[in-house]
Amino acid sequence: MEIADYLPLILLSVMAFSTVAVIIVLATFFGPKNPTKEKLIPYESGSDPVGEVRGVRFSVKFYMVAISFILFDLETIFVIPWAMSWRQSASLGFGFYSFAVMAIFLAILTIGLVYEWSQGGLEWD
């Protein structure tokens, strides 16, 4: 692979960096400034940025949401390859078969979702 093959990548990096730089520079010169103590601390999604990390306890609720997300998010890795090959399958005349197979998969996932819902897995409180 020649270095020229990486040219788009280099161009993209240059553009990305320069855009950010321009925005920061412009904001520094033209943006309104009204600093307060709260605004000057590092941004940590609302939690206190200073202190013992181990002491911070997260609610178990986050765990439930995260796990549900991972499990149902992963269906995409099966659905997208299926979607890519569906056209071929349909051109062979087996579009409905291909569709039915995926429908069964999604139906089982949906039943899982219904079960999780009924067991209170999606309740925040």
Partner: protein
């Protein structure tokens, strides 16, 4: 400037990651880190699959990697639930403190 990574480089990288995970499982005592090490091992196997798959122009390895990802997610869900369960009883996720069953 015509160097490019070949199969052996991917294999070495994945073997290195696999070994890091393996050592992590054997050495670390925090249950969460154990599970992270196992995930690391699974992902290094994925890398092996993809490297071989690319090398052989064969899609089977890609498909296998997808299934490994799905299995890894299922394992992660169960793993975290089990760690929570243990933590509720022991107030600790250190596997060395899990000694109730040894007598």
């Amino acid at each position: 400037m015509s160097w490019e990574p070949t199969l052996i480089h991917y294999l070495l990288l994945s073997a290195a990651i696999f070994s890091i995970g393996l050592v992590g499982v054997l050495v670390r005592r925090n249950a969460i880190i154990l599970f992270m090490s196992i995930e690391l091992m699974l992902n290094s196997v994925n890398l092996t699959f993809i490297a071989f798959s690319k090398y052989r122009f064969d899609m089977d390895g890609h498909i296998f990697a997808f299934f490994v990802m799905a299995v890894a997610a299922a394992e992660a869900a169960v793993a975290l639930a089990i760690v929570l369960h243990v933590f509720r009883h022991k107030r600790s996720v250190n596997v060395d403190e899990a000694q109730q069953l040894r007598y």
